[in-house]
Symmetry: C2
Subunit: 433 residues, 2 copies
């Protein structure tokens, strides 16, 4: 209890970092009550363009520096809060902060997803803590539950809607029957999708977050590149119509499962039953369903992005780190990743499937398709044929299968695509029950 204040060094002054600075400044009294001593901003590392922001002008100019050397030379910093985003230079900054024995709080999903194992090990060595609640799910507590609250459990599965942009687009497509391109455009106009939306709509952002969650939940190093990932751009309004007809919603789900042998990690669009709780998670909201062997199913829901919710998570981490520092508590990083667990290859994954295809409208087509599925040990659970196009002499067929192995399905898809009567395999979506 020697210290009288806790000094904070903030990296960044963008929307997230700016809101963090405001909370530290505007709620000083309430935070002091929680920590037991004042939290004080000692230095803020900014970019030259940040100096023009209104907040930069409100703050004491001596706090601001564009020079990383000056930032790291500030002696009064106990906790480094990084909210720059992106891999570089944030990764180097975090290494440097931990190496210098600083507690670190970050909202940076990319750095934690790619370098979490190394940074956790570094924090452990230096007897400090590395906290990153804001890196997944905005203000929704999910890192803390996995690190602390669910620690008695073996985590069997995680099913997460963790990208607000795609969930907003999918919700609109489902409710309005609109197509992907026009819905993306609308999301961009409303600020829910970026000008370059690739990271969100192709599932890359979700793989970062799933890498973080599954590494923690399974205590093994899962990298973004380990995760099979597909985005939502290939979804059509017709798929949503069929989903509704069949009693499903379509969501971009980040899935992690483990059994005694394998860990399975993937991000892709799925059909989920329309009466499941995850199916009700609409718009930019996020939800993470965790299955533990003791706790059963627990779900965490809230706004997955935005400066206010994200600052809620960052400040909670700062308060926790400050308490640990004041109590002289050192590190509570339990990171001894297991080496025995193997990632399941995608070819071994077993799910049900939804298939939509365009076929010649003539006798015997179904027999040929069923034969290929049967030859690959895939059985049909239900089938819809409609929308025959008299002029083109084609029809649309939708098939729901029973559980089948991905490798078998890929072979069947290839064989069916080669059938002269099959004009097009229009879509192919996995089903999670």
């Amino acid at each position: 209890m020697a210290k009288r204040i806790i000094g904070i060094g903030l990296m960044g002054l963008g929307v997230i970092a700016g809101q963090v600075a405001r909370v530290v400044r505007d709620r000083a009294e309430a935070l002091e009550q929680q920590v037991g001593c004042p939290l004080v901003l000692k230095k803020i590392k900014v970019l030259p363009q940040d100096l023009g922001r209104p907040l930069a002008k409100e703050l004491d100019s001596k706090l601001l520096t564009t020079d990383a050397e000056e930032f790291f030379a500030e002696p009064g910093i106990d906790i480094v809060v990084e909210a720059i985003g992106g891999e570089k230079p944030a990764y180097e900054y975090l290494r440097r902060a931990l190496s210098a024995g600083k507690y670190v709080v970050t909202s940076n999903k990319e750095v934690i997803a790619k370098h979490g194992a190394e940074l956790r090990t570094l924090a452990k060595e230096r007897k400090v803590d590395l906290r990153y609640e804001a890196s997944v799910g905005g203000g929704i507590p999910i890192i803390s539950p996995l690190r602390f609250d669910l620690v008695a459990n073996r985590i069997n599965g995680i099913y997460a809607i963790i990208n607000g942009t795609t969930n907003y687009i999918l919700t609109c497509m489902a409710k309005e029957g609109a197509d992907f391109a026009s819905t993306l455009k609308k999301a961009q106009e409303l600020g829910y999708a970026e000008a370059n939306p690739r990271d969100d709509i192709e599932g890359i952002d979700a793989t970062y977050k799933l890498a973080i969650l599954s590494s923690l939940a399974f205590q093994m190093e899962v990298l973004p590149g380990d995760i099979h990932s597909e985005g939502i751009s290939r979804l059509h309004a017709r798929d949503f119509r069929y989903a509704q007809e069949l009693g499903f919603a379509i969501k971009l789900l980040a899935i992690a499962k483990q059994d005694d042998k394998w860990a399975e990690v993937r991000v892709h669009p799925v059909f989920i039953p329309e009466d499941s709780l995850l199916a009700k998670v609409d718009g930019v909201y996020n939800a993470i369903l965790v299955e533990g062997d003791l706790v059963g199913k627990v779900l965490f829901y809230g706004q997955g992005a935005g400066p206010y919710p994200t600052s809620s998570a960052v400040i909670a981490d700062v308060v926790a780190a400050a308490n640990d520092i004041l109590r002289g508590a050192g590190s509570w990083v339990r990171w001894e990743p297991r080496k025995d667990k193997v990632l399941k290859p995608m070819s071994e994954v077993i799910t049900r499937y939804y298939l939509r295809m365009n076929v010649a409208d003539q006798p015997g087509v179904l027999a040929q398709i069923s034969k290929i599925l049967g030859d690959n040990q895939i059985s049909i659970s239900s089938l819809i044929q409609k929308d025959a196009d008299a002029q083109a002499q084609t029809a649309e067929i939708v098939i729901m299968t029973h559980p089948a192995r991905e490798a078998a399905m890929q072979t069947a898809l290839k064989d069916m695509a080669n059938l002269p009567v099959v004009r097009e395999i229009s879509n192919f979506i996995r089903v999670e029950a």
Copy 2:
């Protein structure tokens, strides 16, 4: 890091305590990895009848004692885990454990609800921690989020389904159109309701839990007796039919709100919009919706009871306490309850209302009823009249009001009941939007 083991003293050997003992025994290796040293059961305080349990025979008999003095004399106990339940003698045991400088983990909602302020103060004085995650929502993390993860927020509201028995009954009544008595009987047969179901169905259990949540969220002492509480036994199958017709679900909700002037705490059945997330929480599941000024709405969902989920919460608390002990971290109880906030009297509460009444089937009845409502500044939002009973010459009227003050509604209810044309005010349910 002087200690080599963390000793646990367990109070109770019922279903919850027994499961806790099993987890400590059967997951020793995984828990040691989380804590950094072994967790060891040093003594178990049992009742004479517990000695006949299968688990008691599996355990080393020297661990078991029916004598509280012997339990407290055991020198190797670092953490006292209490899972006896009920106010007495648990309350005395917890005081005694904290006074002796032990860390305390409890699942006891009644003791924490009634004596939480005193016990938190005691823990703070003795520089130990008092943890009670399992006291609300079974395995759902909700105490940790309020204590730690949402600490940057001003909590504006809590809306919680925190009693599995009543939620199971309400779900059955909604889905099957059954009446209360037969549904309660079924719940008892299935083990979802106790032989004496009063604490659950009359909302008493929920007031304990709401007292705990609101005390934490508002940092003020809220006692169970401060909470306006109504149960579900007065709900009829007809109310569910009307609710569905009007687009609502009926739930027993524990509600806590605060504004600059008042804190408002109440437990009673409510109409909530059928498309809200809480309306989808079915069966024995629990959900707690928290509204923070930064984080917005976050929801925590899961199994609110049962030995497995509850043990998940208890063990998480034990691991956290063990880590604090090993790190020499002392207490992190920030409990300086504010004295300035006043509880809102129920008469000042403002909600919308659903009214169902049985009236004489004759001209002018509606005029008399509307006049009374109007005289009390209550305006009608919608009205259904149906089910005229030709023989009895009565009709049923259902009224949904706009927001009105409780005091005004109570006056109006009395005045309407005195009208000769009103045979009965059949029910009266508040609406939460």
